[in-house]
Subunit: 257 residues, 2 copies
Amino acid sequence: MISFSEAKQVVDHALSAGKTALLVGNCAVKYEGRAASKLSEGDRLLVVKSDGTFLVHQSKKMAAINYQGPGAVVSAAVEQRDGAEELVVTARRKLPTGALERIEVHFHSLQFAQAFLLKDDAELKVFGSERQLSDLLMDDLNLIEPGLRPLQKESDVRKGTIDILAEDFRKRLVVIEVKRRTAGLDAVTQLARYVDELSKRKDRQTRGILVAPEVTPNALKMLERGGLEFFKLDYEVSNPSAKIKGLEKKQRELSEF
Amino acid sequence: MISFSEAKQVVDHALSAGKTALLVGNCAVKYEGRAASKLSEGDRLLVVKSDGTFLVHQSKKMAAINYQGPGAVVSAAVEQRDGAEELVVTARRKLPTGALERIEVHFHSLQFAQAFLLKDDAELKVFGSERQLSDLLMDDLNLIEPGLRPLQKESDVRKGTIDILAEDFRKRLVVIEVKRRTAGLDAVTQLARYVDELSKRKDRQTRGILVAPEVTPNALKMLERGGLEFFKLDYEVSNPSAKIKGLEKKQRELSEF
DNA sequence: GCGATCAGCGGCACG
DNA sequence: CGTGCCGTTGATCGC
C-alpha cells in the first residue's frame, strides 16, 4: 500500500523530470470532452507519459478505457471526499475546437506508484504497409496488366487521394486503389468516388481497379455493378521489403464495352 | 535492477494467477504477422494483461508501439545471445486466417517487474455516441423537418446499415446518416451509397440527409452535386443523456425538382 | 464466424 | 491548422 501523498509526489516528480509514472490502484474515472463517460470503482493501471499522454487500462482488452493524448496537462492532488481521502489525478487538454477536455481519476487506494525514466530514441520500422505495397506495384504495373503505365502516385483529386494513377494500352485512365487486407464496401466506394471524379473532369474513358488480397462478396457485387475491376494481390511481409508473392487477375475489364 | 530470472518468475506468476504484469527496461522488439516490424534498443514499458493482451509502450504517444490483442499466448524465457543473457518475452496469436502472429521483446536490462491483481467488474458508460444521437433524433424527427416520420432504425441494406430510415410528408423515402463529428467525404460517400441502393430497390423517390455538427467544404460540395442534403446538428454531451442543443437546417431539399 | 461500421478513434502526410 | 486516409487499426453489433 502506498500513501496518497507519496503517490502525488511520484506524479509530480515524473512530470517535472520527464519521467513516466505508473500507478496501480482502485479508482473511479470521469471524462468529459468530445463525449462524456463514467467508470465506477475498480482496480486499474494509470500510465502518465512525459509528453502528457494519459492512459487508464483495465485488466482486459487492448484499448485504454479512458485516455488523453500528448499535450495533456496532468496534475495530482490529495482531496477529501465524503470524509475520506482520495488521490485525484487530472488530465486537461484543449481541443482543436477550443473546447476543454478533462479526465479525472479518483483513486481510493493504491497498490503501487513509481516513476521511470524511459530513454528511447528508436523508431519503429514497419514492413508491409499499404504505402510499401503501392510502391512495389508502381515499379511493375505489368503485374496487374500488360501495357499498364504509371502516370502518378498519390495524386490528390478534389474527392480524395488516388493511390496510383495509370494509363492502359488504349490510353484509358486507370485508377488503382490498393488495400493491404480484405477490401470491403468502403474500399469500393472510395474507388468509385475517384473514378467518378476523374471521368467527369478529364474527358476520357476511365477504369478503376481495386487491388487487394481479398474482397468481400458484397464489395465484389458492387464493383461489378459499377463496372469496376478486382485484382487479387498476394504478398509476403518480410524484411527488408514486402514481397509480392503471387498475382492473379480475377476479373478483366468488366467495363469493356 | 531486477534479475532476468526474477522477472521471468513475475511473468509466469502473473500468467498463472490471472494478474497483470508490468515490466520496465531496455529492450528491442520484433514483430511478424499481419505486417512485420523491428524496433531497436530503448527503454519501454511492457504490459501483459490477464487476457493475453500485450502492450509495448514508448515514452511518448498514446498508441502502443507494438502490441497483441486478447487471446495471445505469452511466455518468458532467459536466453543467451552474443554471450550475454537476456529476457525474452513472447506473445503468440493465431490470426483469423489461420496464420501466426508473434511479438518478441528482448530485454537487455530491467528497471522493474511486478505483477498486480486488477479486480474490476465495472463497465464504461459513454454519453454522446452516434447511436445515442441517432436514438434521440429518432424520438423527434420533426427537429430535422416537419412531417418527417420514422420508418425503421438501423435498417440493413445489402450495402451496409442505414442509421435512420424515414418518410417525408410527400411519402418519399429519406435516408438519414448521423455523424457525431465533422462529416467528411467518407460520410457523404456512405450516404450516397445507401440512397443509391434504396432508390434502385424500392421504386420510389429517395432523399438523403447528412446530419452532423459540421461538414467539410469538399464534402458539402459533393453533397450538393449528388442532390443530397445537410442538416447541422448541435448537441451537448452530458450525463445522463446527450442533449440536442440547437438545430439548424442548412440546406433544404436540394433535390427538390 | 464474417461483414460492416463506429471510435472521445490515433497517427501521418500534404495542402 | 484542416482534410483525407491508413492502421498489425480495435471494438461492437448484427447476420
